[in-house]
Structures are given as C-alpha cells and as structure tokens.
Symmetry: C2
Subunit: 197 residues, 2 copies
C-alpha cells in the first residue's frame, strides 16, 4: 500500500470565510435543484464537502442557513440609476432589474422561509421595497425635470406601483417576467397614470 492514499480525499481543510462561502454556495445549488422542502442539511453538508456539525456551529437551523445563502445574493442598491432619456425606458429598466439575480431561487426560498418563519421582515429583505422606492424617486424626479410628468402626479402609490405589479407577477408565476409583461405593465398601467397629457 502506497502511503499517498486517498488521492481525492484532500486533507486540505478549509476554514473561516472560505468554508462559509462554499457552504452557502452549496445551499443555493441544493435550493435550485431540490427546492426548499427537499433541501436537507445532510445534502448541503455533503455537497459542500463538510459535515453537519460544521453547519450547526454557524447557523441555528435550516431556515437560518437558507436565509444567509439568499441574503448574500440580494442585489446591492444601484449607485447610479441608469438614465435612458425617457420615463418609459427608465421604469422598464427598474422592472428588468427585478428579474435578475436568480429570481427563481429567491422566490423558492421566499415561500419556504415565510412558511417556516412566518415573518414579513423577510419580504422587505427579499423584495426590498425601500430600495425600489429610492430608485423610483430618482426616476420620477427626472421625468418631472424633463417635463414628462407633473410634480403632483408623484404620489407614494405611483412610487411603488410598478414594483408592486412586478412583484405580484414574480410571486404568482414564479419565473422572470417576459419583456411583453414588463411593457404591458408600464404602457397600460403606469404611464397613463403619471404622464402629462
């Protein structure tokens, strides 16, 4: 027997942040492949090449680890809200941004977490209304400056309406919105309400 056995079984132990990142990545992969209710701690441990004890040293339970895995992927606020030169394209841009970042995984996790935790701080984490609000404030202010929209038309409801409708689509159909849906929401609902005429 050679003394360099287990060529696949590295005894290179990861620790700290490196290990943690690998675990959370494994959670996201299991979530994608298995869905929330079939995601098991054993499965995560095996996929991450570690053991359950390591998971439970860091997170108290399944919900916590999934939450951590998802939280990492919540997009950071856009420093610059891109200016496409008109309100329509700006708002479409905002809605398109809600489509990305593995939205399916986010929603799968969301349903599971709400079921288990029941709380709604979650909603504001996974569907960050505050952020969309800020973005929409900028977008609508620009439209006012351009003369597309009168200042009185900018009400709280108009700030949230496009993202609310988009969120509804995402939650109900559990998949990214089509370009057609985005266009319909903007052209048939939002713009007629705010555009000057």
């Amino acid at each position: 027997m050679s003394n360099s056995q287990h060529p696949d079984k590295l005894k290179n132990r990861r620790r700290g942040k490196e290990l943690e990142a690998a675990i959370l990545q494994a959670v996201r992969e299991e979530l994608t492949e298995q869905g929330y209710s079939n995601l098991t701690m054993d499965g995560v441990a095996e996929r991450a090449g570690t053991s359950k004890a390591v998971l439970y040293r860091r997170w108290a339970n399944r919900a916590e680890i999934v939450l951590a895995a998802i939280r990492e992927r919540v997009p950071l606020p856009l420093e610059e809200v891109p200016d496409y030169g008109n309100l329509r394209d700006d708002v479409c841009g905002v809605l398109r941004s809600m489509n990305q970042n593995n939205i399916e995984v986010m929603i799968k996790a969301f349903y599971g977490l709400v079921t288990e935790i029941g709380a709604m701080p979650l909603a504001s984490l996974l569907f960050p209304q505050g952020r969309h609000n800020r973005t929409m404030t900028i977008v609508l202010q620009r439209a006012v400056d351009r003369g597309e929209v009168s200042a009185e038309a900018v009400t709280p409801r108009m700030l949230t309406l496009p993202a609310d409708l988009a969120r509804h689509e995402l939650m109900l159909y559990n998949k990214p919105m089509s370009e057609q849906t985005i266009a319909n929401l903007v052209d048939e609902v939002f713009l007629p309400l705010v555009l000057k005429r």
Copy 2:
C-alpha cells in the same frame, strides 16, 4: 365496576361526510394555531378525535389534506354580483370580498403548499383569477352600460388589475386589506385608468 364506563370516551363512531368535515375543521384550526410548518398529522388526528390511519385513508399526504381543508373555504362564485349603482362601489365590493373567508389561514396554507408542491395551479385555486375575471367582466360591462366607461377601455389588463393589486397586498402583508387601502387602489389606480373623462 359499572358497565357504563368511559363517560367521556364515546363509542359513537362518526363516519363518512360527518367525520370528514370534522377532520378538515381540525386541519383549519391547527393551521391557524400552529401554522403550516408546525401542523402535524398526529396533531390533526388528535384534535379531530380520530387516528392517523383515518386521515391517510382519505388523503395521500399532508399537502393534500391541507389543500382539501382550504378548498372547502374558497368562496363560491357570486351568483349575483351586487350592483351598487356605480363602478367605484362595485369594484370596492369585489376587493372587499377578497378580504373575507379567513384570508390569513388561506395565505398561511398557500405559502406552505407552494413550498411543498411548488406548483401554480394552486394560485388559481386559492386566488381564483377566473372568478374575479368573470365578476369584473360583469362589473365593467355595467359601467359601460351606465356610460361611466367606454367599451375600448375594457382590456384584459383592466379586468385583472384590481384583484392583482389586492392579491399583492394580501400576500405581502398577510392580513386583510384596510378600507383605506382598498379605496386607494380603486381611486388612485383603477378608476383613473378606465373612467371616461
């Protein structure tokens, strides 16, 4: 020893529909008190005063029994859509009808079921878009007849918009909508889009 023992332990066996109704009621109560993820089959059996075997003779698994318990409570289509004499009040009526029938329980179940089943036929069961569509068709036709709305304004999007926004509110906040919210959705979003002017 008297031969009329067990004064509390009736040997009055319920069967068929009567038993089934008691079980589904127990499911709803457990759902309310425990939430979906803490609802156990043993708990349901005990509360209903029966045994697990009886449950599994009727339903294949936990999701099925919860689904059955909820399905019972989905309101039947309104034979008569009440006519309040104007579009505003008619639409408010439709949204108010979405508030009732233990909406919190419905939503708790909904999140759990989507997590476990993952499917979206659910959505159409628990948030019956078809029904709302039918109701809204009637309501809007009336408005056209009254001259409040022009026929071209009645698009598919306008048929679903009020219920979509209401559903979004319900799913996100997990509680009945306030009168103020209903009024805001109708007055600030829906009516301006469809009313003649």
